[in-house]
Amino acid sequence: MYRKISKENLRKWLGELKARAAILAPAKERGLWSYREFGLQDFPLRFRNSRLPPKGLFLDPLRALFAWKSSGGSVQLTPLPPLNGQRILIGLKPCDARALRILEPIFTRDYPDVFFLDNLSRTLRLGQACSVLCTGSFCLEMGIDPQESADFDIFFREIPAGYLARVLTDQGRTFTEGDFFAEASAGEWDLARREMPEKKEKPLFRLERVPAGVAQSFPDKNFWERVSAKCINCGICTYLCPTCHCFDLGDLQMPGQGVRFRCWDSCAFPGFTKMAGHNPREEKWRRYRQRVSHKFNFFYQSFQSIACVGCGRCVVHCPVNLDLREVLVEVAR
């Protein structure tokens, strides 16, 4: 189903929604884009993508899970409920929306994680088609279409008169029922498609070769030592990755009380797999190999999807310019 809305009406529509839900939108602060409470300010221009992925809005970087109180030998546990309240996330990009889809089965299977799943279900996902390819990105290679996506409730394409909206879910439909929207056709939607100006003639690598290529390279110690040689184990690639989801559990202790929390962790850190007697990934190349193998091979075997969307954050923000794309090109040869 397709709808359209003028820029003026969009503002009015969001103003009305603001009374019902928390609206999160891209905002630039001190030079960095992030998703923040939308104050009906001017609609963000030239937004490519946020520095931190929106995964933190779902898998909180730090989340208290339960609290305890202890006195005189007795202990009392209090569950800390997940956060609630409808949220509307606008301006989300197709890569990051796909990443949320990739994360979902991890937190659904076997033991449903209400902290993650409640955040998903309380958030209406409104996406916006990209007009340029981000620096360092390889979304096209990863099978993400910057101009089309089914990973949203509503997906918007900009047109001179405002926006065309592709409504993808029932929830999206209810939100677009008011007078602010007008009917639109599939033909209009197709006409609003833009080609990426920087699109390369040939993809960097062929995705279908990557999982097997990574698997074949796994025993090749020399290869992993070479590609990880300059890595400094800072973990920024995992921190900025929209699909990295490994976490730690820890305790915050105060006199007579405390909380158990969950926080992001990183397979780049040597302590990640350190056990009582030994550490299977003491050496850096093993940790880098694990990260690449988990994303492009193991995860694929478990969930039939690759845990990478080609957003390019890890490429651009790596302090030593370790370029994941070069590794993928090599394994997919």
Partner: protein, 282 residues
């Protein structure tokens, strides 16, 4: 499998009370625990090989197998070697203290594949803990199994865990019990020698047998070679795999090896399974 966790919060443990502490060696203790909530205690069940996440509130959570048998459900037992933060904290605790327990998690030893077989248990050090759950389990249903051989070793007589069990098993006429130490002392009357060497000396037949082993990685590596010499095929050998765990739920990502999460898909694997995914990391 009973799925625990108060409310819907999978990270919140149940409160359990330490009802007994047994010092095993200079650095290892066994804890007997009971759920504070009688209804939970009543409905709790598990299978040999499964593990739990144990909390010392304020210090954190750590993973230990359940070392008691599901055939003896009035309380749970787990054994802890003092090494890191949580294990140090556990060693400070006494009878009556409260800790947290989440579980049971993971898969279990394949009892159906052990029935009617000769069983060979090969354990080293604290690695006897998960085997002990299974040994009690099969001894409590003794008629379902044929010959039972237990080979257990430790570095020295002082390092032997579960001495009370070793004694009971050695007195059991239906069990062939061999205890060995790497280095003996003047009072030691058992075998002296490394577990894999003693295993080859004892030379149990692989015919209609299943071997189950757990211990330090170096012992497992050489014990597996010895078993191969004795004619055991990879599908006749079972072990539990050790890997760093935090959540126990297949989410936190830490125990990932190949396409598996040891916490969810393991920790019990046949050697045949392990050979299909184990890499140079282990």
């Amino acid at each position: 499998m009973s799925q625990l966790g108060p409310e819907k919060n999978i990270y919140q443990p149940h409160l359990v009370e330490i009802i007994k502490v047994i010092p095993e060696t200079w650095d290892t203790k066994t804890f007997h625990i009971q759920f504070q909530d009688a209804a939970v205690q009543e409905s709790f069940s598990f299978l040999s090989g499964q593990f739990g996440e144990y909390s010392v509130f304020g210090e954190g959570e750590a993973t230990f197998c359940i070392s008691s048998s599901p055939t003896r459900l009035d309380h749970l037992e787990f054994s802890v070697k003092r090494i890191g933060r949580v294990t140090h904290a556990l060693h400070q605790l006494n009878q009556g203290d409260l800790i947290g327990f989440r579980g049971p998690y993971g898969n279990h030893f394949p009892l159906d594949k052990l029935k009617g077989k000769n069983l060979l248990f090969v354990g080293g050090g604290i690695g006897l803990a998960p085997l002990r759950s299974l040994i009690h389990n099969v001894l409590d249903n003794r008629l379902d199994y044929r010959e039972i051989t237990i080979l257990y070793g430790a570095r020295s007589p002082q390092d032997l865990c579960f001495k009370y069990d070793l004694e009971t098993w050695s007195r059991n006429p239906t069990v062939k019990m061999i205890t060995t130490v790497d280095v003996g002392d003047k009072d030691w009357k058992g075998q002296v020698g490394l577990v894999p060497n003693i295993l080859e000396e004892v030379g149990p037949s692989a015919d209609g047998a299943v071997a189950i082993t757990c211990g330090p990685p170096i012992m497992i590596r050489y014990a597996l070679r010895s078993m191969e010499k004795l004619g055991f095929t990879p599908s006749q050998v079972w072990t539990t795999l050790e890997m760093k765990m935090k959540c126990g739920l297949g989410k936190c990502g830490r125990c990932n090896i190949g396409p598996l999460y040891v916490c969810k898909d393991g920790p019990v694997f046949s050697l045949a399974e392990i050979q299909s995914f184990l890499s140079d990391e282990f």
